[in-house]
Symmetry: C2
Subunit: 214 residues, 2 copies
Amino acid sequence: MRKGDATRERILEIAEASVLAKGFGSTSIEELIAEAGLTKSGFFYHFKDKNELARGLLGRYVQQNEKFIEDAFGRGEELSDDPLQAFLIGLTLSAEWLAAMPSGHPGCLVTSMTYQDRLFDREVRELVAQTTQSSIDFLRVRLGRIAEVYPLPPEYDVEQLAMMVSSVFDGGIILAKALANPCLLPQQVLFLRTHIKLVFGSATVRPRLKLVAA
Amino acid sequence: MRKGDATRERILEIAEASVLAKGFGSTSIEELIAEAGLTKSGFFYHFKDKNELARGLLGRYVQQNEKFIEDAFGRGEELSDDPLQAFLIGLTLSAEWLAAMPSGHPGCLVTSMTYQDRLFDREVRELVAQTTQSSIDFLRVRLGRIAEVYPLPPEYDVEQLAMMVSSVFDGGIILAKALANPCLLPQQVLFLRTHIKLVFGSATVRPRLKLVAA
DNA sequence: TGTACATCAGTGAACGCGCGTTCACTGATGTAC
DNA sequence: TGTACATCAGTGAACGCGCGTTCACTGATGTAC
């Protein structure tokens, strides 16, 4: 690791907190450097302009978020071969880890950026869209595997269900922030867990055997 | 209606669109008056400072939103005495009206403000919290009435369910915005409808008779 | 090991612009008597 | 109906500050020979 990487990381960390509290437009470079303890030209050495800060922020957030999700759901898949059980374990772990965050989940940068997209250039906007799509894809794949074993009720759609799961995370973060009650997010995730169990448990009574398509 | 009220309304309308696209902090008064066609002092005649614009924006949004929700779910209650049917009709109407919006739902101002709360004074922040709480209360009451007739599965909680419904709306708006596909929101609302039917239909087979507590 | 050069990680000063806010003023409309 | 006054819905000019960005420069570290 280069020496400057630590500075860059410090800037990104400070910037993320500010963006989630005030929005990207109201996060001033002046304020960031004051907190990070360097000069303005020091900042511009690391980021050629403000849009590059946005790219850096998003990249960092996506990486951390992917790690979180893969840790939780990957662990679930380690612990159970049954895709439903694996997914439920993933949700439980997510809820536990979210509950363990001292002041709650800090906020979703993708949501924040979605609500300020006119501030960014096309590259950043496309990155926001890709990130959103890839979370849904991740969930769709898992839910699809479950649906092969535990058939869904007929009017259900795996893609819509994936979006609903994603919405409960994003919506839970908003609720917890708006009502200043960090518990609400993990509670919602656990509630979602109950829900998923119900959805896949309602079509037939106990479909424990894998159904193989003819 | 006073003459100035039309101007005030025009300012608020322009400001809302800008806030939802760029955030409150990056919405400049200069830009609003350019579009509204009046001078800066004209703006300050209507709003004594920028935080009063925020209050005005939120007040207007809350009013419109309440009207939307009460129109949809109130109509549901007119059309059916059964609280579940009434709620399902409310969801269907919501989905239809959302689908009819030419460029989709413009965005939730409460979400936007939640993600920029350090920009506002305490009064505005409390208004944001109250608004969020009152949507949940609205849903909790309706879902509670349903739960008296169609018992919920034992591990379900009406309050958590109300929050989940609220999350699906907020999350659906984000998804539609992020993926630039306005259809996603009404689809999610209809999917939620399917879901609610499943939840209240799973405890017993056909509980058509009202259960009266001993 | 010494020297030459390149890259890294910044500093310091200056820039022009747009921002929110204030203030003194004004013409049109409404109200009292 | 006329006059006096008050309120409404703004205008125009000025303010100081902070913003993002640029540019020429620099001392420390790394690399080649």
